[in-house]
Symmetry: D2
Subunit: 305 residues, 4 copies
Amino acid sequence: MQRIADEALKYAKPFLSQGHTAGYIPELSKVDPNRLGLYIASNDGQCYKSGDFDTKFTLQSISKTVSLMLAVMDRGQDYVFNKVGMEPTGDAFNSIIKLETVKLHKPLNPMINAGAIAIDSLISGNTPEDKFRHLAGFYRKVFNNEQLNYNKEVYLSEKATGFRNRALANFMKDAGVLEGDVDEVVDLYFKQCSFEVDCKDIAFLGALLANDGISPSTGKEIVPKKVSRLVKTFMVTCGMYDASGEFAVKVGLPSKSGVGGGIVAVVPGTMGIGVFGPALDDKGNSVGGIKILEYLSEKLGLSIF
Amino acid sequence: MQRIADEALKYAKPFLSQGHTAGYIPELSKVDPNRLGLYIASNDGQCYKSGDFDTKFTLQSISKTVSLMLAVMDRGQDYVFNKVGMEPTGDAFNSIIKLETVKLHKPLNPMINAGAIAIDSLISGNTPEDKFRHLAGFYRKVFNNEQLNYNKEVYLSEKATGFRNRALANFMKDAGVLEGDVDEVVDLYFKQCSFEVDCKDIAFLGALLANDGISPSTGKEIVPKKVSRLVKTFMVTCGMYDASGEFAVKVGLPSKSGVGGGIVAVVPGTMGIGVFGPALDDKGNSVGGIKILEYLSEKLGLSIF
Amino acid sequence: MQRIADEALKYAKPFLSQGHTAGYIPELSKVDPNRLGLYIASNDGQCYKSGDFDTKFTLQSISKTVSLMLAVMDRGQDYVFNKVGMEPTGDAFNSIIKLETVKLHKPLNPMINAGAIAIDSLISGNTPEDKFRHLAGFYRKVFNNEQLNYNKEVYLSEKATGFRNRALANFMKDAGVLEGDVDEVVDLYFKQCSFEVDCKDIAFLGALLANDGISPSTGKEIVPKKVSRLVKTFMVTCGMYDASGEFAVKVGLPSKSGVGGGIVAVVPGTMGIGVFGPALDDKGNSVGGIKILEYLSEKLGLSIF
Amino acid sequence: MQRIADEALKYAKPFLSQGHTAGYIPELSKVDPNRLGLYIASNDGQCYKSGDFDTKFTLQSISKTVSLMLAVMDRGQDYVFNKVGMEPTGDAFNSIIKLETVKLHKPLNPMINAGAIAIDSLISGNTPEDKFRHLAGFYRKVFNNEQLNYNKEVYLSEKATGFRNRALANFMKDAGVLEGDVDEVVDLYFKQCSFEVDCKDIAFLGALLANDGISPSTGKEIVPKKVSRLVKTFMVTCGMYDASGEFAVKVGLPSKSGVGGGIVAVVPGTMGIGVFGPALDDKGNSVGGIKILEYLSEKLGLSIF
């Protein structure tokens, strides 16, 4: 297994030159595009690591899975999906078109930016500080990392340039979809995107979901099984932006990527995989990360289909 | 002529019940939907008035014509139309779709909300206060009314609920189309929409444009002829929201309407017409105002086509 | 198991009144909306049936899965997906918008009408008759039914009214996506949609896919494992029209529905399920069929997530 | 005047290299892109000509204005605009998107392909031959040319490649907007697009409209004044594809262009102008033709605004 992990990294390396770091968030564009790392956490306690597995990066869209779980635990599935749809979309993650054309103006799913921002408006808490504390506490549990916090430079960079996300939020506020104050909701979203992790952290999240929400290290339930299944479903149908369909065919694992370069993948019942490679393709997915997962899925026969 | 003015009002009255006051700006929905007024200012100094010609209402989208003239005078036609397109659109005035689908993300024209907000980002001035002072000064000239000011209640109502306009502005900021600070630009836009006028004020604007930019009262040039022609062109191709084509067929006069219930119409070389009727059709145009203009155009053979 | 099958039917019955038979194909609207049937074919040879399991209905969109497999076997996966995309879409099955807005004008996936028509243009054969013979032969194998044929009345009804499908085909022909003659391709598509089956037939298809392409009755490979996996992936991401995401959350089985009222579902490694209920919801899915599958998935814990 | 005509041609010549002949109709791409001609027919009987004024070209979209007049004369304005809208659109002439997104699926106006095809379904006649005879008779009158006929090669070329127009027609048939047989309607449309004219022919059409529908040569009414005004209105709001707004600003004359390279322009009360230059810009308008009209409008102060 350690050998296969190393092979996967070696296989993926040459593809890095096809990608670029995220250009639209200034702070993210400064990262070294040649980084590539892998961490596998099996549910029986083994771990395998390779490359830049301990380099820090920000969660970005991977956070969408975590906040979705929290919102469902806070408000219940019915309430949440009254505000956000369940359908995959062929549009880009930051597209605003469907918000105008779709009846009720609901975002199509919680994995596109509009949906994730609407989800953040549902996090419990009386004040912005309350909400952040509540959210950060949950993030620390699902990543099994008490030190987890957001990167201030990245957060400020997102805040200074996040006009498209503000457009989405204001549009939803106008349509009556978004609860609460627009600026506060968007601010919480910028913070969650800026949480700093490494491959080990997100591999733990993968293992947690592989184990139906029960911590593989402590045996305690962190997320109800039903919520764990729900989020895995969205990871399959819309976890890889508008390349989710192709990824399902080629890899076949519930996964979620972020423009920080990370991808978390779940092998149900078996293990979690965390990969990191900040060189992105034109859909916003880690070029090297996808190649690593293709290699592992093929070699180990991991596809759920 | 006075007789025809009275007949037009009488003809239009029964149609008022087909409309409703603007629902999406709370302050506007409080207006009495049965109001209807008309003021005709001929270029040779005559005036004819009928009904509620001296009731105050807010400019709303009529202001788009005035700020367009000011921006072109401030920056030049080329600079302005580098930021905003010239094409009519079949979409609603507050649609955001085309901003995403169109190359360069330029708003299609200065008469839709997105375009008008982009235009406001081009008004000269070092500070928001400077810009407003500059803009208000020009408005007072083109409406020939030194007392002209914005209605605070309406302005605050727009500001409190203008999320769709903020969505448009943030989208354009993200796309690099909008200059300056989003909140400041939108604030200026809310203020210009809230300027309070009556039929006489807007009839003067119509007469000014009918007279190629030269004040019919003083004989002084307020707007260069070229700019006057430019704005009349947009009034024909996109002055009546997504009912501009039908209005061109049925009335055939350069006109601009606002959801405050006003419509300014220009009879080139001859006169300006100001109508007011806050009951709107589903496109956002004054039901009674359109009927008055249909009557006048038909009776007096005013169509430019 | 038989008891659970009967219970599922009983549970689903009351929901039928919420649906309607397909209105847009005249011949389909004549069917009795109260029909409801279920057939379960387990991979170890057991079968369970309930209700109108032997009522005949037409495949409609279920055929998209079968022709996709044939095209991939005829032309190879790379060739096929050079013509058709792999991404789910939030649009309706007969939408034409994305064909215009998406780069290259490729249909987004093989499960929407545009994609399925493009797939039909890839079926091998020198003449239309050849192609149909080739296609029908394959259909008879995957449904394990040598008598399988298309219903002439339904076929003629589709042909007489299938203008939207012709619009899609002509659009793709213009864009260079569709190979061959437009009318011939569309004719083949109308025929495959009109193949007449019952619950047993489609349950066999489900069992075949559950068994990775190997016939559970003869042990012979009918479809390569890789192709079987491919089609199951599309059944998850886009098998239930623009309700696929919600179905994945609530049922979690690779499935494909048709407006004839049928749904085929796959329980990987275990069994195939065929349900029939011509009362459809507003997305075009069988109301009763979905309820049966929700019941079975919940009771038997079948979700793959 | 003759001097200004020659100057206009000279002014426009150098711009020809910026354009290309229509690529999507094979027969049209064979034309010499350096051709440029001009014919001015004044209502008092004078004529001025310059360059390739007697080169033959096909009407293409210019025909939309003529068939619109005929349909309104055949069926009445209300009936026609029950099928086709009156609004300009920012979309390309062959766009299909709005047909799906707009309520009732009506084409937005009679100057886009969808609208023009719908208009052709309204031409009177019991058989396709009847309809063509009726249409051709009217065309011969409005172009004052008894020899007028369609070019068989161009017609066959359009027929062989007109898949996008068939897509539009089938979509409208499905939506209940198009009357009659799809293939017959599209065939009539291909024929009218292929009518062969020269600058003199279309200048006569311009003069006819400038003269409110009364033939400047015979004094007889060919088109009722109301219909003449109607078509001029559409020429202003949507006569130059999705560059109509810019053309209104820069030229300000009711005009209609075709991808054959012709443009007809109307100077109300004064004259008709026919220009021809097959090098097109990316909107499908004659590069040289627009430059000629800009020159004439500027020099002679022709803008109606």
